[in-house]
Symmetry: C2
Subunit: 112 residues, 2 copies
DNA sequence: CCCTATCATAACGCCTCCGAAACGATTTTC
DNA sequence: GAAAATCGTTTCGGAGGCGTTATGATAGGG
């Protein structure tokens, strides 16, 4: 893959997301969402903050927003009730799956 | 490219952007930026709004923000002074180039 | 000319987000 | 059991975003 192709791919996918009236997630929110859905659980606020190199309130706010969109849910960790565990949802799984398809579709449209 | 690989690629790139303290652009802003830098000029507010399927104020605000980041500039169209032409900047070109490199780097780290 | 169409932006009220600091709740340490 | 450490959230003022609805500037047709 060459740089021009890579950028075209990103543009195609971004355009299809915007045109499709999908929620306008920021790069941070996307990083959180994909990490929750691709990396093995459990996912805590602190763990996500460390992995992304951001402060905990950033994660809390992103979870607020994505929770309102039903893309993730929060649950207390019953082993250590200070922790909050981020869990996947059916809607979130569908969203991520559909997003993966959009990337594939964008890749197919690339000029050789 | 399989769906899992595509999503992993997106995650890698999003993580590297977030970890690198790059400006946290939304999907809309990214779509605008890449369109300005990949598609041939001229680029007008109306044209971008039509291509993305959003209202014109959305474009105006995105240009405000990305202009403050020196990623694009605005100039009156002297042929038709109602129009505003969006132009590329040196900083923006560097940003886009570096972003393309980040995608390439993310692709290299993908599991087979 | 003037009247309408078109362009981009500004104004409005509301929501999200920022970093830093403070907060309650819970666990661990001594 | 009191004190310290840890966890996530809330608060603060300030900034940017949203959609909708005006507004000002320019262009063009009758």
């Amino acid at each position: 893959m060459r740089p021009t192709q890579a950028l075209r791919l990103w543009q195609q996918v971004a355009l299809s997301e915007v045109q499709g009236n999908m929620p306008d997630l920021s790069m941070r929110q996307m990083a959180i969402l994909l990490t929750v859905y691709l990396d093995p659980p459990p996912h805590t606020v602190r763990g996500l903050a460390g992995q992304l190199g951001v402060t905990k309130p950033v994660i809390t706010r992103a979870l607020d927003t994505m929770g309102a969109l039903n893309l993730v849910t929060r649950h207390r960790d019953e082993q250590d009730r200070r922790n909050v565990l981020v869990r996947r949802t059916v809607e979130g799984a569908l969203y991520v799956e559909r997003f993966g398809d959009a990337i594939i579709a964008g890749a197919r449209e690339l000029p050789i």
